[in-house]
């Protein structure tokens, strides 16, 4: 018999023209994205851009209004049960019980995945070890730090060994150390073959972890590329000028085309196209009588990509 897959197995997630509105407000206005099997895609966007809505649709927690979404070869609206069998989700809110210990949480969920008593205990112990929670295993989760809680959430999502993992803002609100720890856990999961879609508002997170970055704003995809290509797209180096007077910042903005202004830091940033443009930029400020206290050149970051893309879409 000939089995026709609606999506090649090389694609873990395939989304086309996804739309969703809440009471007349359009949250997703046609999202397209593809996550190749075994890769990590970062869905990058500001608050309210539609990241969580996208994840909730892909994890069958929310029905889309239109478009199609195939996860692990199954349609999320028609084959929700089959989709759930191959995915794991770590949502933004805690999805573990604060009044149970870490171990009890994992044993409960392992039991609800219908592992037998001994198997459930072994799986819980294994995951506690893997996510570095063994020392805290018998403490109530309500006493955990933010980073520990996220790791436990992640461990709970890994009980069934899902092929595809969705992480909704996994590091939001974490201190830098917990964030780095979580990043290394995510990299290990990726190395072991798990396909990961994570949402983030942190550009460095996407830059560090992702094979591909989809930037969304206002429910639309404004960019879909590798982090390196996105940076290339934005191109040249940035000239960062700190002005002597904060009041001069708007005037500098008027004098220079496409400058990014940061009045609080008294900084004006422009993309420079070669040495001549650099000299001309400084000359322009000089002629306008604007004092420059400090200049620096730096490579473009995803932040620059982000400002450029979302400013264009706005």
């Amino acid at each position: 018999m000939n089995v026709i897959h609606s999506t090649p197995l090389t694609e873990a997630v395939r989304v086309r023209g996804l739309t969703k509105s809440f009471g007349g407000a359009r949250v997703l206005a046609g999202i397209d994205l593809t996550v190749p099997t075994g890769s990590l895609l970062a869905l990058l966007g500001p608050n309210g851009s539609g990241k969580t809505t996208t994840v909730r649709i892909l994890t069958t927690l929310l029905a889309p209004d239109g478009g199609s979404a195939i996860v692990g070869g199954h349609d999320v609206t028609r084959e929700g049960v089959a989709v759930r069998r191959v995915i794991g989700l770590t949502a933004q809110q805690a999805t573990v019980d604060g009044l149970l210990t870490g171990r009890e949480n994992l044993e409960l969920f392992a039991g609800l995945y219908h592992l037998g008593g001994r198997q459930a205990r072994r799986r819980a112990a294994e995951l506690l070890e893997r996510f570095d929670l063994t020392a805290a295993a018998n403490r109530l989760v309500s006493t955990y730090s933010g980073g520990m809680r996220r790791r436990l959430d992640l461990a709970a999502s890994m009980i069934s060994n899902p092929r595809i993992l969705f992480l909704d803002e996994p590091t939001t609100g974490l201190d830098p150390r917990s964030r780095a720890e979580l990043w290394s856990v995510i990299r290990e999961l990726l190395a072991s073959g798990t396909t990961i879609l994570l949402t983030t508002q942190y550009l460095d997170e996407a830059d560090h972890l992702a094979d591909r970055v989809v930037v969304i704003n206002g429910g639309r995809v404004v960019a879909d590329d590798s982090p390196a290509a996105l940076k290339r797209q934005v191109g040249s180096e940035r000239l960062v000028m700190r002005l002597s007077l904060a009041d001069d910042v708007p005037r500098a903005g008027a004098a220079l085309a496409d400058a990014h202004l940061d009045p609080d830091a008294r900084e004006v940033t422009v993309a420079v196209q070669g040495p001549r443009h650099l000299r001309k930029t400084l000359d322009l400020l000089d002629h306008a009588g604007i004092g420059v206290e400090h200049v620096a050149l730096r490579a473009p970051t995803l932040d620059d990509v982000f400002f450029e893309l979302t400013a264009a879409a706005a």
Partner: protein, 258 residues
């Protein structure tokens, strides 16, 4: 069949989760263990001396025990509304929804755990009453019926509480259900004889479910004739459960629909 066995296992796990949670919060222990004793002491010693039991001719402790049993079990049962609401408004529900379990086991877990906890609360109240001088005169069958009645009341209140918890959008609003349940026995024949109440309240007292349940309990515990109150009590409880269980299942499905 095997699906039912699987769901029964899931239900057991969720009941254990609920009972564990209850033992870890001070409020839970207070509501389930201390409140029954406090209510019993309050009625027997504080109000008891001032209340006459009217035409029943009973001593006050004999008169009031059934109402206190319902209050002890009912208050905790009503808190099921808070438990289900916490699952829904926190993130737990997303975890449950991504697990391969039938949706109904989540509300059912809260209801079953509530019955276990709150029948135990009623038993604590009964024990307190016996220490305070209550001398029941009941056969083994009477005791079985008392247990069935108290469990039925707790079950009905828990299921109704879950319905309420699924209807409201915040945990605070869910908590309000406790007051309705706690005060139901006040305007019944359970704490003061309904015959002493003014007209409208008396009519309410005679026609609300707590009165026939309390009268049946009183009859069973004190070896008095049950009369028609047994059938009326059973009708109320069966009716409440038959209506609230499917409504709870339906509301839960609606609240968690994609």
């Amino acid at each position: 069949m095997s699906a039912l066995v699987t769901s029964a296992g899931d239900l057991r796990r969720l009941v254990v989760r609920d009972l564990r949670r209850e033992l870890r919060v001070l409020d839970g222990l207070i509501v389930n263990a201390a409140l029954p004793v406090i209510i019993m002491l309050l009625f027997v010693y504080v109000f008891g001396g001032a209340i006459t039991t009217g035409s029943s001719g009973l001593s006050y402790i004999d008169f009031v025990v059934p109402a206190v049993l319902l209050m002890s079990g009912g208050y905790g049962a009503a808190l099921s509304a808070v438990n289900i609401s916490e699952d829904l408004t926190g993130g737990m529900i997303d975890r449950f929804r991504t697990l391969p379990i039938s949706g109904w086991v989540v509300p059912a877990g809260h209801v079953v755990a509530s019955v276990v906890r709150n029948v135990a609360s009623s038993a604590i109240a009964l024990l307190a009453a016996i220490l305070l001088g209550f001398r029941p005169d009941a056969t083994l069958i009477d005791w079985a019926l008392v247990l069935a009645l108290v469990a039925g009341y707790v079950l009905a209140m828990s299921a109704l509480a879950v319905v309420w918890g699924l209807l409201v959008s915040s945990t605070q609003a869910a908590g309000a259900f406790s007051f309705a349940v706690l005060f139901l026995p006040y305007v019944s024949d359970g704490i003061v004889p309904a015959e002493t109440m003014p007209g409208v309240l008396r009519d309410f007292a005679y026609n609300q479910p707590a009165t026939p349940i309390i009268e049946t309990l009183r009859a069973l515990l004190l070896d008095r004739p049950v009369g028609s109150s047994g059938a009326v009590a059973a009708a109320w409880l069966i009716g409440a459960v038959v209506i609230s269980v499917p409504v709870a299942a339906l509301l839960f499905r609606r609240r968690t629909a994609a």
